[in-house]
C-alpha cells in the first residue's frame, strides 16, 4: 500500500513549510507566494491520494517508531479522517489564495511571514488532531491549535483585536485544561492513553468506577463546548471573529470549530463507545445544546 507513510509526509510537509517561512528575507514577492502555494498544493495532492487510497482499500493504523499500539503513539487513518483532511486542506488553500491579495491591506510588512507560519502551524495541528488515536497527543495538538488561532486574531494589533484574542486565549486555555483533566481521569481508570486500547477496558471500568467516567466526560464536554463555541459557552466567538483579519476569521469559523466537533465525536464514540453514551443519554444533551446554538445564534443575529 503506497500510502502507509502519507499522513506523516503531509504533517512533515506542513511543519517544514511553517518553519521555513519566517527565515526568508525576500520581500512579499510572487516567489514567496509561489513557495507557499507549492507547499500547500503538495500537501493537498498527498491528502487526495491518501483519501482515494483509503476508500479503496481498508483503513490502517500507523504506529510511530514501530512500537505496538499500547506502548507508542498511533494514528488511525480511516475513510472519514482522510476525507476530513482533504476538505480542511482544500478550503485552506482557497483561503490562502484569497489571503495573498487581502493581507497587504491589513497587516504591516514585517508580519506577513509570521502570519503564514501561523497558518501552516494551524493546519499542521488540525490535521494532527484529525488523525491521532492517542489522547495525550490530541491534547498537544489542541494546544498548538488554540495558540495559533489566538495568534492569527491578535496579529492585527488593534485594540479590540488584542482584547478579543486575550479573552479567546483565556477561555481556550480553560477549555484545554478541563479537557486535560478529563484525559487524566480516563487514564487514571483505564490505564491506556491510546483510544482503542482505552475502549477495550472501558466496559469493565464502567462497572468499577462509573463516577470517574461521568466526571471526565463532564470535563471533556465542557472543554470542547468552550472551544467549539456551543451555545452557553460561546461568549468569545462574536468579538473574536468580527475583529480578526478576514482570512483568519474564515479559517477560524470554517475549519477550527469543525475540528473540535470532530474530536468530540472521536472521543465519545472511539473511547467511550456507544453503549455508555446511550446509557448516560449524552446524545440528548448534545442535541439540545446543538438546537439551542442554532436558534439562539440566529435570534442574536436578527437582534443585532
Amino acid at each position: 500500500m503506497i500510502s502507509y507513510h502519507l499522513p506523516v509526509y503531509i504533517l512533515v510537509l506542513l511543519l517544514v513549510a511553517a518553519v521555513l517561512t519566517p527565515l526568508r528575507k525576500s520581500a512579499y514577492s510572487t516567489a514567496f507566494k509561489l513557495k507557499v502555494l507549492i507547499f500547500l498544493g503538495l500537501a493537498l495532492i498527498l491528502s487526495l491520494i491518501l483519501f482515494i487510497d483509503v476508500t479503496n482499500n481498508q483503513s490502517f493504523f500507523y504506529n510511530f517508531g514501530d512500537w505496538n499500539t499500547v506502548i507508542g503513539i498511533e494514528f488511525l487513518v480511516d475513510g472519514f479522517s482522510s476525507l476530513m483532511t482533504f476538505v480542511v486542506l482544500f478550503i485552506a488553500t482557497l483561503i490562502v489564495i484569497y489571503a495573498f491579495g487581502d493581507i497587504p491591506h491589513e497587516l504591516k510588512p514585517n508580519q506577513f511571514y509570521s502570519y503564514y507560519a501561523l497558518i501552516f502551524l494551524l493546519l499542521f495541528s488540525m490535521i494532527g488532531m484529525i488523525f491521532t488515536n492517542d489522547l495525550f497527543n490530541l491534547y498537544v495538538f489542541m494546544e498548538i491549535l488554540s495558540l495559533t488561532s489566538c495568534g492569527i486574531i491578535s496579529i492585527k494589533r488593534k485594540k479590540e483585536n488584542l482584547l478579543a484574542s486575550f479573552k479567546y486565549l483565556m477561555l481556550g486555555t480553560i477549555g484545554s485544561v478541563s479537557i486535560l483533566m478529563g484525559i487524566a481521569l480516563i487514564y487514571m481508570v483505564t490505564g491506556h492513553l491510546n483510544m482503542s486500547a482505552a475502549h477495550e477496558t472501558i466496559a469493565s471500568v464502567w462497572q468499577a468506577y462509573p463516577r470517574n467516567i461521568l466526571i471526565s466526560l463532564g470535563f471533556i464536554l465542557t472543554g470542547l463546548g468552550i472551544k467549539a463555541a456551543i451555545f452557553p459557552l460561546h461568549i468569545w466567538l462574536p468579538d473574536a471573529h468580527s475583529t480578526a483579519p478576514t482570512p483568519s476569521s474564515a479559517l477560524l469559523s470554517g475549519l477550527v470549530v469543525k475540528v473540535y466537533v470532530f474530536t468530540m465525536g472521536k472521543i465519545l464514540f472511539r473511547v467511550i463507545g456507544k453503549e455508555i453514551v446511550v446509557a448516560i443519554s449524552i446524545h440528548e444533551f448534545l442535541t439540545y445544546f446543538a438546537a439551542l446554538s442554532m436558534i439562539m445564534g440566529s435570534v442574536f443575529a436578527i437582534g443585532q
Partner: protein, 100 residues
C-alpha cells in the same frame, strides 16, 4: 451578584469532585488500574529497547517521540505568536547588523 453566583457554582463543583475521590482508585497503590502492563513494559524493556537508564528520557524521545516533536512545535508557535504581537523580532535588529 455575579461573583456570588460563580462562588456557589464553584463550591458545588468542588463538593462533587471531593465527594467522588472516595470512588476513585486510591493514591499510591501498586494495584491501581493505571499501573498496568504499559508502565511495566517501559520499566522492564527500557534497557534493551533503548539502552538508556533514564526511562523518562527514553519515553519522551523514543517510545512517544511524536509528543516531543509536537512539543518543539508548541515552542516554535509561541515564538512566532509573540513576534507577531510584539512586532520587533527579527527584522529590526538584523537590519542594523547587516548595515555595518
Amino acid at each position: 451578584m455575579r461573583k456570588s453566583l460563580i462562588l456557589i457554582v464553584l463550591a458545588g463543583l468542588l463538593f462533587v469532585l471531593l465527594g467522588s475521590i472516595s470512588e476513585m482508585p486510591g493514591l499510591g497503590g501498586l494495584e491501581n488500574p493505571s499501573y498496568n502492563e504499559v508502565p511495566r513494559h517501559y520499566l522492564e524493556h527500557a534497557i534493551d529497547d533503548t539502552n538508556t537508564a533514564n526511562v523518562i528520557a527514553s519515553i519522551i524521545t523514543d517510545y512517544r517521540a511524536f509528543d516531543t516533536l509536537g512539543e518543539t512545535t508548541v515552542l516554535f508557535t509561541s515564538i512566532t505568536a509573540v513576534i507577531s504581537v510584539l512586532g520587533s523580532g527579527v527584522v529590526k535588529f538584523s537590519d542594523k547588523e547587516e548595515k555595518h
